[in-house]
């Protein structure tokens, strides 16, 4: 269990750093979505199915959609 936790944590932190450091905004949003999805896994490991479902629907789904829609509105990636 410990090993899985560490792996998941490492994955999340990597995704977080990637989301911050990457040049393209779209990549950043996708990385954020990945981070949320992985955190869903962590929530299930910690026996929180309610939170997991909500995070999957809101954190990984809707948040990414909102960010990408906003990015589209300003005319896509520029950097």
């Amino acid at each position: 269990m410990m090993v899985v936790t560490i792996l998941v944590g490492a994955l999340m932190i990597t995704a977080g750093i990637f989301a911050i450091e990457t040049k393209r905004l779209l990549d950043s949003f996708i990385a954020l979505s990945v981070l949320s999805l992985v955190s869903v896994f962590l929530f299930i490991m910690m026996k929180a199915p309610d939170v997991a479902i909500t995070e999957a629907a809101i954190g990984a789904g809707l948040t990414t959609a909102v960010l990408i829609l906003a990015l589209r509105k300003i005319g896509g990636d520029e950097e």
Partner: protein
């Protein structure tokens, strides 16, 4: 240089936070008997004490099988009213800030597969969303993910149909369901003497028709969250 400094500051914050969590119990070794949640689980806040058993216990003080739901909607239902208000006001703000704009298409025709699949998938999505919030007091889920799933259905409509626009009725749904939540709370004052108090029989734990006002509130929340997030999605499709 800026990166180095911010890294230093972030490390400082991390260090302080690690110092702060020093005195709290180790991960997974928590003693729940000292916390209020123990009484939420055994459903004995008002003093009544009896072992709760699935599909057997009757007329408990609070009848939802999902303990998280019982806290979110019943024991701490007021928080949820506030939370719905946060979402309400931010949806309103999104609408206000992007006001005066009209929907603009994606500039290319939606994919054939997408257009055809929507007809099949959309009813399923809506059904799933409704299922999630109707069963919120029995299974994981509830009004918030259920409402989100409804709004994702709306997002799919937007993606697949260039002309689609959310009708103004969503605002009415939003306002009405919000008012209903408050009115249910006020009925609580009328019948049980406290805001948001339960005034319906709680039934047998685990049955669909149980838990008093909890399923009703969760359905109201589901529709409200669905309407709010859908307006956010719709507003994000508008362009000047």
């Amino acid at each position: 240089m800026r990166k180095f400094l911010s890294m230093l500051l972030a490390l400082g914050v991390v260090f302080v936070l690690i110092e702060m969590i020093e005195p709290i119990p180790a991960y997974g070794k928590v003693d729940l008997s000292k916390r209020v949640s123990e009484k939420y689980v055994s459903k004995s806040v008002s003093g009544f004490r009896e072992e709760v058993a699935y599909k057997k216990s009757k007329n408990l003080e609070e009848g939802s099988a999902n303990v998280v739901t019982s806290i979110v909607v019943n024991y701490r239902g007021f928080d949820t009213l506030g939370e719905v208000t946060v979402l309400f006001i931010s949806a309103f703000g999104v609408g206000l800030i992007s006001s005066g704009l009209k929907r603009k298409g994606y500039g290319r025709k939606p994919n054939f597969i997408l257009r055809t699949a929507v007809g099949v998938v959309l009813p399923l999505i809506i059904l799933f969303g409704v299922y999630i919030f109707v069963h919120g007091h029995l299974t994981p889920g509830g009004g918030f993910p259920g409402g989100t799933i409804l709004s994702i259905g709306i997002l799919l409509l937007y993606l697949s149909n260039e002309e689609y626009e959310l009708s103004e009725k969503s605002k009415v749904l939003e306002g009405t369901s919000g008012s209903l939540f408050v009115i249910i709370g006020l009925l609580g004052i009328a019948f049980s003497g406290a805001f948001l108090a339960n005034f319906l029989p709680t039934g047998v734990i685990g049955n669909l028709f149980s838990a008093g006002i909890v399923p009703i509130i969760y359905i109201v929340i589901g529709f409200k969250v669905g309407a709010e997030l859908s307006t956010i999605v719709a507003d994000l499709h508008k362009e000047g």
